[in-house]
């Protein structure tokens, strides 16, 4: 059992009153450990994404008064294109973390279950330890496609001194019961906010779920998400994300392959500008025999951006005939850009093929010359090569999602 070292003090943001539950394991965990800090249990998993600056940061919850309701209406009215992006999909529309009624809204039920979190997941602990909306959704042949759209209103409080960010939290439980299903999450807010979401996913025997995430963060905005997935026998789960911007994003995806011949694919691409920071933290637990996992992350880092990938593969003792592949590649477009990769393999079975690799480099001058020698101007040649680079990690089966993913990261 790890114990907290006393080397550095507890780090906590300035949380709004009434946010945390009165009791509960997750709440206690968060209050006990706080944000990751030197010497804490979470330090290793958060090594390249330090949150020290978040200590003392003021967070507030939107006041659900009349003015807020008007802002919600205005936000919805101004985001009609976004809302209509996937007309064939059922819709869950959240504004400031609150579910809004819409004609395509899917039947949902409030969900009271609380996912288990550990000390190395402090933001997930904050979410689970908080009072926030939590909904359960079932996907199957009748409802194969769900769009979950997160919008945020902007308010006067953003300009407060000292500054305060709205804390927007939701919890979702998605059950993919049967057939081939798709879930597309899009975050679309130009205003600064702090998102902190938890998603629990169950993929039932022989079911398939393709989970797509599109997100852009502006400067000063943060997005934390924690997705835990259980994949049953012969079921498959794919998580494909396109992240970009100048803000701070940490996306945790943890998949447990719980039935034989289950499979998962964790693919993602990102483009970082300014002082942006994007961290993909993945865990894949091979708990049964003959499961396959495939992780591929590709990033383009500009300016003083930082890209982080942590990929853990765990293979249990009786998970024989496991196949696990993991690759992370980053292109650095400036001298101040950085990328960190941290693979972690923990293997207890013997009939296992696992591979991992990572590359960091610049655009290939030979490829650029080839394009330019055909008349393509340098800037366009770069754009073509970058697009080709990220698109490899953005393939998905549902056409409209594939297009949305590629368009999201195209220049």
């Amino acid at each position: 059992m790890l114990t907290e070292s006393a080397s550095s003090p507890l780090l906590l943001p300035d949380l709004p009153a009434g946010l945390l539950r009165d009791k509960g394991d997750a709440r206690d965990l968060f209050l006990q450990h706080g944000l990751p800090r030197r010497g804490s249990v979470a330090a290793e998993r958060w090594k390249y994404t330090p949150l020290n600056k978040m200590a003392g940061m003021r967070l507030h919850l939107p006041h659900e008064d009349k003015a807020w309701k008007e802002r919600v209406e205005r936000t919805i009215a101004s985001k009609q294109d976004e809302i209509a992006r996937f007309p064939d999909a059922a819709l869950l529309l959240f504004v400031d973390g609150k579910l809004q009624a819409h004609e395509r809204t899917l039947a949902t039920t409030p969900y009271a279950g609380l996912p288990r979190v550990t000390a190395s997941e402090p933001l997930a602990a904050l979410n689970v330890g908080s009072r926030c909306e939590a909904w359960r959704v079932v996907l199957n042949e009748d409802t194969p496609f769900l769009h979950v759209l997160f919008l945020a209103t902007s308010s006067e409080e953003e300009r407060l001194q000292p500054p305060s960010l709205p804390l927007l939290q939701t919890r979702l439980r998605i059950e993919a019961q049967s057939g081939s299903t798709s879930l597309c999450q899009t975050f679309c807010d130009s205003s600064a906010c702090w998102n902190n979401d938890v998603i629990e996913i169950e993929v039932a025997e022989e079911a398939r779920l393709e989970h797509v995430v599109l997100q852009e963060r502006g400067r000063g905005s943060c997005a934390f998400s924690h997705t835990t997935v259980r994949v049953a026998e012969k079921a498959s789960y794919a998580h494909i994300s396109a992240l970009k911007g100048e803000g701070l994003t940490r996306q945790e995806v943890s998949v447990a392959l719980e039935g034989e011949e289950a499979s998962c694919k964790l693919h993602g691409a990102y483009r970082i500008k300014g002082k942006g920071h994007i961290d993909n933290d993945t865990e894949i637990f091979h708990n049964r025999a003959r499961c396959v996992s495939d992780a591929l992350y590709k990033g383009v880092v500009e300016d003083a951006g930082r890209g982080v990938f942590h990929g853990k593969i765990f293979v249990a003792q009786d998970a024989q005939e496991t196949r696990g592949y993991q690759m992370s590649r980053a292109l650095l477009l400036s001298e101040r850009a950085h990328a960190y990769h941290k693979p972690e393999l923990e293997i207890y079975a013997d009939d296992v093929i696992c591979s991992h690799g990572s590359t960091v480099g610049a655009l290939d001058e030979e490829q650029l010359l080839y394009l330019r020698s055909r008349g393509v101007v340098r800037a366009r040649a770069e754009a073509i090569l970058l697009e080709a680079f990220v698109n490899e990690a953005l393939r998905c089966e549902r056409k409209e999602c594939a297009q949305a993913l590629q368009a999201h990261l195209a220049q």
């Binding site: 330019r372 020698s373 055909r374 008349g375 393509v376 101007v377 340098r378 073509i384």
Partner: protein, 278 residues
């Protein structure tokens, strides 16, 4: 009218990080760098409508010459190159393409994730835009490129694949030829496009070049073999040796080289190598 291309006393050297400074023969290079002279004063004139061949042993500088003309960086270049009377060396690679220069690379790179037809469309549209012409209609463009690929024996499926990605050596060369035919440059430089091609493909390339040949368009064909030149009959043949053109002649020269090899020329000019000053 000035010749299409005129190369005057072109020299090119490359800086290599000098790890063995003690052995460096170039005492004056102070930063621990040694420089290697690859082209040592190449002069060449290609009038409109002519086909010139360049032959020469491995490492003599043929590809270096071709790639400097296309705009590759990394060399210290001196001398002058005029393209239709304009200073070519002052232009970016893309600007040279816009003016009508094309290089079929000896070793074309692959572009994973960039589909062949898309690549060609980007190139054609970029050139049209740069010349102030109207971009070709997409459907007409695809149709035209497909017809060309049939003529040149390029599998149409290659247009759907990523450029040169997983292509065989010969397929890459055919693909260069297809790009050349689609882009219709004023000056086409072919750097060993015939190497690695099967006999039928060489004929297809020769026929393709023959179709494009007209009073204005010129070709600079770098090759090790007589076969392609038998098909396309060069106006001039130049021999590049140690970074210098040591002999120029008509197509007879090519037959002579085929028979005798480079040994007699090396004997005649070999002495210079030792005498060369940096």
């Amino acid at each position: 009218m000035p010749p299409l291309l005129s190369v005057e006393s072109l020299t090119a050297r490359i800086n290599e990080e000098g790890t063995n400074q003690g052995e460096s023969s170039h005492g004056e290079s102070s930063q621990g760098k040694s420089s290697k002279e690859i082209l040592r004063g190449v002069s060449l004139e290609i009038p409109h409508g002519e086909v010139h061949a360049v032959m020469g042993p491995n490492g003599s500088g043929k590809s270096t010459l071709a790639s400097i003309l296309a705009g590759r960086e990394g060399f210290e270049v001196e001398g002058r190159v005029l393209f239709e009377g304009e200073d070519l060396l002052a232009l970016d690679p893309e600007e040279r393409a816009h003016k009508g220069l094309f290089l079929a690379f000896q070793y074309p790179v692959s572009l994973p994730g960039v589909q062949g037809m898309r690549f060609l469309s980007e190139a054609l549209d970029a050139q049209a835009r740069a010349r102030g012409e109207k971009e070709e209609d997409r459907i007409a463009q695809v149709k035209r490129v497909r017809a060309l690929s049939r003529e040149l024996g390029v599998e149409e499926s290659m247009l759907k694949r990523s450029v040169n990605d997983g292509f065989s050596g010969g397929e890459k060369k055919r693909n260069e030829m297809l790009q050349l035919a689609a882009l219709q440059p004023k000056l086409a430089i072919l750097d060993e496009t015939d190497s690695g091609l099967d006999i039928d493909a060489i004929r297809a390339v020769a026929e393709g070049l023959e179709r494009m040949r007209d009073k204005k368009r010129s070709f600079l064909v770098i090759t090790h073999y007589q076969r392609l030149l038998e098909h396309i009959e060069p106006d001039r043949v130049h021999v590049l040796l140690n970074g210098r053109i040591v002999r120029s002649g008509d197509k007879q020269l090519c037959a002579q080289l085929e028979a005798e090899g480079y040994a007699p020329l090396l004997k005649e000019h070999g002495g210079q190598e030792a005498a060369v000053q940096p």
